[in-house]
């Protein structure tokens, strides 16, 4: 998204003004330092809170960080330790499972929701707003609420509900077999309505004439979805995939609050592990190596999807 965006945004800048325009151009744009003055606050804040921390993360990842004693260069040792530790590998695996589960769960459910609530009636507007509410509820509240709903005994709220159809009672977040799936369900509950809204915007952009043409040609609803709606939504799927996957990789709050990695490490994800390494064990070098790897994974994923989209578009 952003690379493409950038080229589009800056395209006009590359068109050099004709020589005859130069004097007027100069007067119109004022002094050379004017834009920099407007940019100054942003530049200072971005350098301080984005670029310096990023450089520091990379720097620390190749050092042993010892507060007050000075850091020592250790090269790839932190990376080797991270990649070699069972804890990190299982956290990375959990992160991927969670990200994949949440991404596809949210997209699938969001797509179905969008199809169901598409339309202009007042009733549908109401349903849409109600369904969207989870997205604007702070994640910390979502986690605390689901913690209560996931109460592991038979009279917990969700256990009562699934008991109606003869299931359960389940331990949910307290049972190592269901804990990761339970967190994914909570994530889908909050992610699906977001995806729904984006899908709705995409649905609104589909040419109505195509639907009409399909109906005239005697296409069934299923055929209409398959051959008109889905192809029309292809760019939306790509964008949602990247957004949701990146969101999945950086998951921290809901895991921290629902299970804090437990029970038995069954829900430990990369971010909760980094948090523990960095804060509780003061192992900033190793924690940073983990963070840099996570960033690398995010970057690779984003670039891959961009390239795939480019190729398909070309």
């Amino acid at each position: 998204m952003s690379v493409r965006e950038a080229t589009r945004l800056t395209a006009p800048a590359q068109v050099a003004p004709a020589a005859a325009d130069r004097p007027r151009q100069k007067r119109r744009d004022g002094q050379w330092w004017v834009p920099w003055l407007f940019l100054a606050p942003a530049l200072v804040l971005f350098v301080y809170f984005k670029f310096i921390p990023m450089a520091q993360a990379i720097g620390m990842s190749v050092q042993e960080v010892r507060p007050y004693l000075g850091n020592t260069w250790v090269g790839g040792a932190n990376y080797a330790e991270v990649l070699g530790s069972d804890g990190f590998r299982s956290a990375a695996w959990n992160t991927i499972v969670l990200a994949v589960g949440q991404t596809f769960g949210s997209m699938l459910l969001g797509f179905c929701l969008a199809l169901l609530v598409e339309g202009q009636t007042r009733k549908l507007t109401f349903i849409r707003s109600a369904a969207f509410l989870p997205v604007v509820v702070p994640l910390a509240v979502v986690a605390e609420l689901w913690r209560i709903m996931y109460h592991p005994t038979g009279d917990g709220l969700i256990n009562q509900v699934i008991g109606l159809v003869g299931l359960g009672p389940s331990g949910f977040i307290n049972d190592p077999h269901t804990s990761l799936a339970s967190i994914a369900v909570t994530g889908i509950w909050r992610g699906a309505p977001y995806d729904m809204m984006i899908f709705l915007a995409g649905l609104a952009g589909i040419d109505r004439g195509l639907y009409e043409a399909a109906t005239v040609d005697g296409a069934s609803t299923r055929q209409r979805i398959l051959h008109v709606t889905l192809p029309g939504l292809r760019p939306v799927f790509a964008i949602l995939f990247v957004l949701a996957a990146v969101r999945g990789f950086r998951t921290f709050t809901e895991v921290f609050l629902l299970t804090n990695g437990g029970p038995n490490g069954s829900t430990e994800v990369v971010m909760t592990l980094i948090y523990k390494l960095g804060l509780e064990q003061s192992r900033l070098g190793v924690g940073s190596a983990g963070a840099v790897l996570l960033f690398g994974a995010t970057l690779v994923l984003t670039v891959c999807v961009q390239l795939l989209r480019r190729r398909r578009a070309a």
């Binding site: 804040l45 301080y48 984005k50 929701l113 199809l115 109600a130 509410l133 509950w189 760019p235 950086r250």
Partner: protein, 288 residues
């Protein structure tokens, strides 16, 4: 006009008793799944919920005890902290984005491409990943050597660097016609005047978008405040929920009451500014 209401599934067109019943069941189900838990939260915060099994959407004996106990545990303080952070954080974020957007949209200068790419690149840099090194920067700000750890200011200043808002402002400001600006310049208006009285007033829809998105984003912040606040006096309300839950003397009902206070501001902002919200969702995600 039937063509205008045509949808992918064509649900709105389906009539007849069976179809209506099916639709009712579907929509009731949707409502229950997504709004039901929040309804249970609302009901629970006004009821005695002494253990998690008593969570229900059916009100029993209404009470304000949960809120009273929550306030006894300092929830008002945490709420004020949250409002302080969101107020100043949003002010900073919007001011920075509007100024930067003006330069990027209305000026041509060397290195502009580089600046734009650098700012946009940070959108791929999840803030969680930066959180740990960010706390080191906050503990000793380069050049000025200030320590912002443990202060609300430490949660606020990093919020100023938010690429999404700059992107939205830049895109929007680009569409303001040059003629307006040139006419003002001929009338002798200075740079600040053009910015403040010509461009900015025309950007209200974009200001709405970055305001609403900024608010919900800041209100939802968790890891950064968690790392910056070194003790509970600097906690924001979302952070305090966990402290409340861990306290054995506090019932789930009290946690629900505090949760209600923690979700109301962003839910209200969403309900009041739904149009800005929808516009931002599509402008932020669908381009490219």
């Amino acid at each position: 006009m039937s063509a205008a209401t045509e949808t992918a599934l064509g649900l709105t067109e389906s009539k007849g008793i069976g179809a209506r019943l099916a639709k009712f069941v579907i929509y009731a189900g949707l409502f229950t799944v997504f709004a039901g838990p929040l309804l249970a939260l609302l009901v629970g915060s006004f009821n005695h919920v002494s253990d998690p099994t008593q969570l229900s959407v059916v009100p029993r004996t209404p009470t304000l005890d949960n809120f009273r106990i929550a306030f006894d545990h300092g929830v008002l303080r945490y709420l004020l902290n949250s409002f302080f952070v969101v107020g100043f954080g949003l002010l900073l974020q919007v001011a920075v984005s509007v100024l930067a957007g003006y330069a990027l949209a209305r000026k041509k200068f060397p290195l502009m491409t580089l600046v734009m790419v650098a700012i946009l690149a940070t959108m791929m840099l999840p803030e969680e990943i930066l959180a740990l090194p960010l706390t080191l920067v906050l503990a000793d700000l380069p050049l000025v050597h200030l320590n912002l750890m443990g202060t609300l200011a430490g949660m606020i200043v990093p919020l100023g660097a938010w690429a999404f808002s700059i992107l939205v402002m830049t895109e929007f400001m680009k569409d303001v016609p040059r003629e307006l600006e040139e006419a003002a310049r001929i009338d002798g208006a200075g740079e600040l005047r053009i910015f403040g009285q010509i461009i900015l007033p025309l950007c209200k829809p974009a200001l709405g978008v970055i305001g609403v998105f900024g608010f919900t984003m800041i209100w939802d912040q968790y890891l950064l405040p968690l790392l910056v606040a070194q003790n509970s006096s600097a906690y924001t309300l979302p952070l305090a929920l966990r402290t409340l839950r861990i306290d054995p003397a506090v019932t789930p009902g009290v946690v629900l009451a505090a949760s209600l206070l923690a979700l109301l501001p962003s839910v209200l902002v969403f309900l009041f500014f739904q149009r800005s919200f929808a516009r931002g969702l599509t402008s932020g995600a669908l381009k490219g």
